[in-house]
């Protein structure tokens, strides 16, 4: 019976809720009506449904006109809340300088954090937008012996593998288009950054077209898809679709699509895509020449490792011969991993740099937060009296806790709001520093704002913790007498936090200077050739290329030109890989390969260890002479190379090896960046293959020589503009990542030091206030300014020395790891002055900060602090 009664009563909580919000003058009629309705409904429907309707009605009555007005609330709470706001404002205004420092420090920390998170999320987003990112792979060949990974493949592989293996749903092959000349009417410009690719690239890489049909855009030969920027440049406001561009003075391409200028972040960037069938090259059908990158789209249920082993077996069967055992296996690299983790072709994965930015950004945030927490904690000790009075007139602990927490929440969230509002001011500077193209919008980056919100909450709780929970627990009598026991004495927490800040700062200074040193070392290191005053002119398929020897002879006569050389390989990564047989070797050695003319050695100032360079008058040099580098001699274990026989592969199946003699050994030179060791190299005199001019200018040459060169070029090739670059500038680009890192580390390091000094300054201020009485008594007794300064700095010296002793080994350890990525690096023990100087600088800045406080202290009138007691 009782159970039934329980069932037919409306939910109690809803009734209470109604009582809670409803104005008293309406309560009776409203609750009467909802109860009456409930009773009526009980006769019409199951009780559960009636109860739900009751709840619904209660909520429907929750209208502004029915809600209690504040004067009807227990208004004490509201008044106290208002009081907290008032006290917060007064406290901030009481010490404006302190508040400003404190808030500015927190602000800097927040800004750095948003920048860091923004940057990290950008770096992590590469190729994640691909529709089937987890099924899209790049084909890699990995050497079983060396572990070296190559990302290049031959053109026929893609289609053949797709036919053979049902797991492969689709493929796309990509090859660079090189520097190309676009011509529309009489407008001619060089356009870099083009690629040639299968039509499936649009699908695999989820590239959308602004105009044109995605399905058919690149199916036919001589079709090209261009970026909007190029469309504007050549066709203005006309519809570019169907228009014709002459590329490289040869073929006519029809524009079949327009790409947005701003693509989603991807490791693969391009300004235009030419259809695969429009390119014809002698290696397009070759199974061995690897000049392409091949990407596969696997079936969703295919296992990548499974496909890998199947492909390995396929290639093994295809390539293995009795003489040359197949020494590779296939790896499939997920496309979304390429940007951060790519270690193919001797590349250093980006992830290290990205992590470093994250770590430095995190450090700055830590310093800023520690500052804030430290300062608030230190400052709250000045409020003993306030807490004491509040307690003695009846404030409960809960109320005091709420007060301090609310205070900090107010301050932190104001900083949060200011950060969000002003953030875009920092974007341009940051983007130029990081060479990125990031933007921030409050509503677009909800996650980021969410993270920020949480951090803000965390900071306000952490900084409010000490006053809220410790201060409020003390005896009010002690508080009012201002001799709170156990406080203001040791402050281990505060001291260790300050130590942490200084560890980070010192480590950042050391890191910054060593990164800078390494960068300078790389930019100035002797690379074994003379890169100054060398103009490089790629000939492409120009008229000049057909008459290259004539042209070279012509400009050699210029008074400002010292020497002109022809080469097939641009220095800094343009070398080729090739297997060579050598006397006494069991299997061919994979070496780097270059082809040069007779003047090359002179032009670049290469040095010979023995023998000679090629001679123009010697016909035999072109056919059967080679030059090797020292690394080659070492690799094959020869003392001297002159007269030794080596054999070069040919494409002739009758005579697969072309024998020749070594005529010279060149001193090792860095034909690649200093990230990589010098590999064994063979240099041939195949003048036919050369395609680039190296022009060495006399010292003191002016820009006039460039105009002369351009004119000479125009006389031979009127249709293609003269394109050139300076070798040293091009080589410096190889270190752009390090340059950027160095700039970033310097900026962030400076910020960190400023923040740490703010922290130290405030801590010193706080200590000074605590020690006023002691110092005053000492002064009365006759202490000098020096003694007071010493007394005062002593405890800070301990903090700084401890920080330095911890920071130096840690930072040196990590930097050694960073430096080990470089084949050519500075040694830390040779630069031991850097950590020493960094430490001294830190000590100096810290002492300066403390000195300001101690002088103020020492100069004050002792009477001021001693009279009241």
């Amino acid at each position: 019976m009782s159970r039934q009664k329980e069932d037919i009563s409306p939910p109690k909580w809803a009734d209470h809720f109604l009582k809670l919000y409803c104005r008293e003058e309406f309560l009776e009629e409203i609750s009467g009506d909802v109860h009456e309705l409930f009773e009526v409904r009980l006769g019409e429907m199951p009780p559960g449904r009636a109860r739900r309707k009751f709840i619904w009605d209660v909520f429907r009555f929750l209208r502004w006109s029915n809600i209690k007005r504040t004067k009807r609330l227990n208004s004490n709470n509201i008044i106290m809340l208002r009081n907290y706001f008032k006290i917060t404002r007064r406290n901030l205004l009481k010490d404006r300088g302190y508040s400003l420092l404190n808030i500015a420090g927190l602000y800097i920390g927040f800004v750095c954090m948003v920048l860091t998170v923004l940057y990290l999320s950008h770096e992590l987003s590469f190729d994640k937008h691909l529709q089937r990112a987890e099924d899209t792979y790049r084909l890699l060949g990995v050497s079983n012996t060396t572990g070296g990974k190559g990302n290049e493949s031959a053109a026929p592989w893609g289609p053949a593998l797709k036919d053979q293996f049902p797991e492969i749903e689709d493929y796309t092959r990509i090859i660079g288009h090189g520097a190309s000349v676009f011509q529309v009417d009489n407008n001619r410009f060089y356009e870099n950054g083009g690629i040639i690719a299968d039509a499936s690239i649009l699908k695999l890489f989820s590239v959308d077209l602004l105009q044109g049909d995605k399905a058919s855009a690149l199916l036919e030969p001589n079709q090209v898809v261009i970026k909007e920027r190029l469309a504007k440049k050549y066709f203005g406001d006309d519809n570019p679709i169907g228009k014709v561009i002459r590329i490289d003075n040869e073929k006519l391409y029809t524009v079949t699509g327009v790409l947005a200028d701003k693509q989603k972040p991807s490791h693969l960037t391009f300004d235009f895509i030419a259809s695969f069938d429009s390119h014809d090259s002698w290696f397009k059908t070759d199974w061995f020449i690897r000049n392409y990158q091949t990407f596969f789209l696997l079936n969703s249920d295919a296992e990548a490792s499974d496909v890998e082993s199947k492909l390995t077996a396929f290639f093994k069967e295809r390539f293995e011969t009795p003489e040359t055992p197949f020494d590779n296996h296939v790896e499939l690299q997920q496309v979304s991993e390429i940007h951060l983790y790519d270690d193919t072709a001797d590349q250093t994965p980006q992830i290290g740099k990205v992590r470093l930015v994250g770590v430095i950004g995190g450090f700055i945030l830590i310093i800023a937060l520690v500052n804030y927490v430290n300062l608030v904690t230190a400052r709250s000790a000045k409020r003993f009296k306030e807490v004491g009075v509040r307690k003695s007139i009846g404030a409960r602990r809960r109320q005091l806790q709420a007060q301090f927490l609310i205070e900090n929440i107010i301050v932190c969230f104001s900083v949060f709001v200011i950060t969000m509002a002003s953030f875009n001011l920092f974007m341009p500077g940051f983007n130029s520093l990081m060479n990125s193209d990031l933007s921030f919008s409050l509503f677009g980056d909800v996650q980021l704002v969410g993270i920020m919100f949480l951090v803000t909450l965390l900071v306000s709780l952490a900084s409010g913790f000490y006053p809220a929970f410790i201060l409020s627990s003390l005896n009010p009598v002690n508080l009012i007498k201002n001799n709170a026991v156990g406080l203001g004495g040791k402050n281990y927490l505060r001291k260790s936090l300050t130590t942490l800040q200084f560890i980070i700062s010192v480590a950042l200074i050391i890191g910054t200077s060593l990164v800078y040193k390494q960068l300078q070392y790389m930019l100035n290191k002797d690379v074994g050739f003379d890169k100054e005053q060398v103009v490089v002119v790629p000939l492409g398929s120009s008229e000049v290329w057909r008459n290259k020897n004539v042209f070279a002879e012509q400009i050699r006569n210029f008074s400002e030109v010292k020497e002109v050389a022809l080469t097939a390989n641009q220095i800094g990564g343009g070398d080729w890989g090739m297997p060579f047989q050598y006397e006494g070797g069991e299997r061919p050695l994979n070496v780097r390969f270059m082809s040069i003319d007779a003047a090359y050695g002179e032009t670049l100032g290469l040095k010979l260890v023995e023998g000679r360079f090629f001679k123009e008058e010697l016909k035999t040099d072109v056919e059967s002479s080679f030059i090797v580098n020292e690394a080659f001699l070492q690799a094959v274990g020869w003392g001297s190379g002159i007269g030794k026989r080596i054999e070069m592969p040919t494409r002739d199946s009758e005579n697969p090896w072309l024998p020749g003699k070594i005529v010279g050994v060149v001193k090792d030179f860095n034909f690649r960046s200093l990230h990589t060791q010098i590999s064994p190299m063979v240099i041939a005199n195949k003048v036919d293959w050369t395609s680039t001019l190296f022009i060495k200018l006399n010292p003191g040459s002016t820009d006039k020589v460039l105009t002369d060169l351009a004119e000479a070029w125009k006389a031979t090739e009127p249709n293609i503009p003269f394109g050139y670059y300076f070798l040293d500038e091009k080589l410096a680009e190889q270190y752009v990542a390090e340059t950027r890192l160095s700039k970033m580390a310097t900026t962030f390091g400076a910020i960190a030091i400023v923040l740490a000094c703010i922290g130290l300054f405030s801590l010193a201020t706080y200590t000074a206030e605590q020690k006023m009485k002691e110092v005053s008594i000492r002064k009365v007794m006759g202490a000098s300014l020096n003694q007071i300064w010493l007394l005062f700095s002593r405890q800070f010296m301990v903090i700084i020395i401890v920080s330095i002793t911890i920071a130096i080994p840690i930072s040196l350890y990590y930097l050694d790891g960073w430096l080990s990525e470089f084949a050519y690096r500075i040694e830390i023990w040779q630069n031991i002055q850097i950590p020493v100087l960094a430490s001294l600088a830190t000590v100096f800045v810290a002492m300066l900060t403390i000195a300001i406080q101690s002088i103020r202290l020492a100069k004050s009138n002792p009477v001021k602090f001693l009279r009241s007691e």
Binding site: E36, L37, D57, F61, N66
Partner: protein
Amino acid sequence: MKGTYLGEFEELVLLTVGALYDEAYGVAVMDEIKNESGRGVNISAIHSALRRLEEKGFVKSTMGGATNERGGRRKRYFVLTSYGKKALDEAQSLRMKLYERIPNIALGN
């Protein structure tokens, strides 16, 4: 006093209050509207409308005596004021005037 404009729903509630004479309180008005027009309205909407009508002076209200049902809670009864009656009359005559001007030809097309 707020504007004397009479909304469509307000007019319906006002008519119902008039029709129920001295039995008009929240639930009764709601039931009556449901019965007469088939229109299901939440009780809170009825309360709001009644309160607005009272503010405008179209109805006045008194608390009734203690009841046996609804846990002894009293009801608030609403009655039409003469001003409210006048407002209904005006609305009615305006409607009639306009209604009579509808030409027959407009029908059936």
